[in-house]
Symmetry: C2
Subunit: 615 residues, 2 copies
Amino acid sequence: MIKVTFLPSEKVTQISKGASILQAAISAGVQVVSTCGGKGTCGKCKVQISSATPGHITEIKLSDNEKKFLSAAELAEGWVLACQQLITEDMTIRVQVEQAANQRKTDFAGELKIKPAPGVEKVFLQMAKPSVEDQTPDWQRLVAALPDQGIKFNRRAAASLPRLLRESDYQVTAVLAGERLLAVEPGDTSRRCYGVAIDVGTTTVVAYLMDLISGALVNSGAVTNPQQVYGADVISRITHAGSGKNQLAELQEKLIEALNAMIRNMCQESGIAKEEIYQAMVVGNTTMAHLFLGIDPTYLAPAPFIPVFRDKVDVQADELGLDILATGRVSVLPNVAGYVGSDTVGVMLAAGADRLPGISLIVDIGTNGEIVLAGKGRILTCSAAAGPAFEGAEIKYGMRAAEGAIEGVGVGEDVELEIIGGGKPRGICGSGLIDAIAELHRAGVIGPTGRFPAESAQLEKLPPLLRQRLRKAERASEFVLVWGKDSETGEDIILSQKDIREMQLAKGAIMAGIRILSLEMGINLQEIDRVLLAGAFGNYIRKESAVEIGLLPSLPSERIMSIGNAAGDGAKMALLSVEECLRAESLAKRGEHVELSARKEFQKEFLKGLDFKRV
Amino acid sequence: MIKVTFLPSEKVTQISKGASILQAAISAGVQVVSTCGGKGTCGKCKVQISSATPGHITEIKLSDNEKKFLSAAELAEGWVLACQQLITEDMTIRVQVEQAANQRKTDFAGELKIKPAPGVEKVFLQMAKPSVEDQTPDWQRLVAALPDQGIKFNRRAAASLPRLLRESDYQVTAVLAGERLLAVEPGDTSRRCYGVAIDVGTTTVVAYLMDLISGALVNSGAVTNPQQVYGADVISRITHAGSGKNQLAELQEKLIEALNAMIRNMCQESGIAKEEIYQAMVVGNTTMAHLFLGIDPTYLAPAPFIPVFRDKVDVQADELGLDILATGRVSVLPNVAGYVGSDTVGVMLAAGADRLPGISLIVDIGTNGEIVLAGKGRILTCSAAAGPAFEGAEIKYGMRAAEGAIEGVGVGEDVELEIIGGGKPRGICGSGLIDAIAELHRAGVIGPTGRFPAESAQLEKLPPLLRQRLRKAERASEFVLVWGKDSETGEDIILSQKDIREMQLAKGAIMAGIRILSLEMGINLQEIDRVLLAGAFGNYIRKESAVEIGLLPSLPSERIMSIGNAAGDGAKMALLSVEECLRAESLAKRGEHVELSARKEFQKEFLKGLDFKRV
């Protein structure tokens, strides 16, 4: 086994020789972004080999992919792609720390106004001792002292009850979840009661440790979904799960291991025992929910996209190996359909889709755009396959919304940029891309069909500094967003004709979904009272730009608002309150799923949505 | 690892060097009787070392215990005590095959008149296939096809559902237990449905494989309780369970392993897959039930004798590791108190304690005599600590009711014997002992206080052949039941003064229990309408003799009857019928336990019961 240390966290892992640095990072619970599933084609997983004695590291052999994605300056400083380098000796690796995007702007305490009334309840009990005159068995003695006599026998809790009762002088705290007794603890522990809300994303897994009594967020953690190494998107995960006998189990175990590492870490930092976490509330897209539960997701991939379950699922923690109290309850919120998962139900819950007046459009933009249209007493949902453009993948200089990403673009006489973190730019994230295209479209650099001007007459109308940035590349034109002298890497950051096409396909799919739900409800787009943008993307997007390119309906900007990581918020709400959990179940039941692929109008609406124009 | 082969079963086990032959037998699932817990003091575990090449076996070193319990002839033929010989090389061992006593006279098919209506139900389902128009998730599709829509989600059954449904063309059989779906099987399997009834005795574990559709007994098996090596009686098991961190788990695992070996064997013989066994119904004394479930039995041992549970316990098979369908239901019938277990509840059920007119006394005689007095609308229970005499332990030539045991004794001018199997006698079993004492008492060889005649005047009244058999031993007199020339071993089989004392203590305890329950009910013994004798002992006992020595009340012999292995029958009944199972629960609830140790009358009644006289 080889020892790998990651900086700046100083996390250490032992791994077999021949594993990649990316695999080591996953095993150490260190987040390294990768969107291609470790194939070396996304160029996102840059790390720096950094040893105390640099000469000690055997000379690095670079792959073609590394030469393509890394600048000479980066290579000189020891930057490599984590998925391309195999580990052969002990090493120290520095990773780029990104504050997880979905943690940046969400100020939970101020946002969720939930009175805690969780599914887990603690009751302090003082019992009389047994005698020859009162031979009541231990379990019955305990149950008789409880407010609800209908508690079911729990072998695990009963197994060690005799000693516990006697050592604590018959003063114990019972932990109850409905008619289940989860645990018995010595003495009065009724003020300590914790739960964990989990948002299993295809790319990132986030966990929130919550105090179930005060409702406060105690700690949180985020980590790359370790299933990444088996493919970046849900389809490749599903394919992998079906590719052999143990693959499904392996995908589940990897995920559970990563969650357990996060839970351990949060518990340690916050001085909480894992046995004090009595409940986990999980959201995720339908594929992730299947994989989390170890349930075969095979038939989610081909039409007609059939999930195994839709309703909320409750299992005992030890059945999954999730490292909270062994008898703790793990709940996965219900989904609506194969591609509208419990994460979207979490979004609906946090957004209050069942309580908003008028007509609300809720959009969670990612590889799949989940769209909810609530109004007229109905809740319609669909999933639009937007592709990875919004997450910066398949975009030449695309990157996730992290330090060094261009997140805002203004175009006047020249280009003005906003960079996350304020330093030099490294690439462009989804929201920056939308901004760039919208501004360039407004300035006439990009035409309505997405093309750069070809004729000199059109070109000459542009301000000189912009004209300079437009240049011929191999096959088509490209636009230089950042000159090499101003970029982090020293390289030009450009926007290619292909990048623009990717964005057209992505936003065309989303708009087609929005239009078809509106048709189904019998409204036109201007009747929408509010557009709620969920997720990381919604945090960064400039509404005017999204409207400008026709990604969102052309509505006054005060009607468009970001609601942060609503999926995670929904999980927290359902964890904190049984009532909110029931609301989530009712929302999922009410959700009417519209399968876009079954709609003959889809192709027409999709084509209509490709052009850059307000709708 | 060393290979040990057992004859005549030809079962083979691999075991570590230094294990005893007894441990090897347990590991192989071969029944070798032992009542002392492997200490070498009971002399019951005789086996014959029998190798193809006898010279091959290293010379056997005999322990003092072996020299004491084995005759010269036996030693010459390679007989040893299985607990005394440690294994150092591959060997072949021949064991004495005893038809398990509790299987001998029980003709189940004719006895139990139960219409099968088990807790497990099979339903054949034919479903429509999914389509883009009907995206119902697999689980919901299944549930919608079921008669009861309230079925709870089962992750394990759901995990592999997608492929199963598609490969079986949406024609499957659902296995249901109440609101739980246990399994889904391809095609129509509704005619195959099995369960196993288990009677966990302190000494012997018996399993019955039942066809839950026809109600027929398919197969059965019996094996020595492998916990024997940790002590012969419940107190030593409880002590062992509390003697270290993993001891309880080990006791449970040993038992489950032995059960699994039996289940595997029965399945193989009968062409049934273990996954076709959907339910197990377990009875046993309260300590055995605790150990079976892995629940701490510590506080059953000291006063006030507190069990952990009393009600029926249901757990999923895989939680215990019991090798039936992993999601199958394992139920342990309720107990009444620390020393009146679910085996007694099984007896009450099989005997119909709730349906018999008048007053019924039910006695299950063993190390603990469980006594039930039903009548006047009440069901009273108690447990009398009879000691091991009835099972032939602590009796010089005592043995269990097996081939070669004296089971009947007649005394006239001389002694006449009935031997189990009809061959030469090897020892005397409990029922033979009662018979011997009763007959010798009637003949004047044993006086009312249990003594052999000391004065010559008394002796001279005896027939000469009897007088010859009475001789002085080291401390007291002894009576020769069998002369060496007529015994299997060539040794005299004798009845000692101490043997008689043991029987007095045993029957005195039982009678004290009977008397105290009668006092509690306010009846005198002659008001009892029937005495039902449960268990192996009841099969062999001669009623007149039991009455003669005052073990049972002096009632006309037609009012005393044996009801066979009623505990096992009760388990079968509860397995075959939900209604019977509910009856068992009601019987346990109605049972009013009388704790003899808390009764000030106990000592008086016990002393009163020591004498040999009709009561």
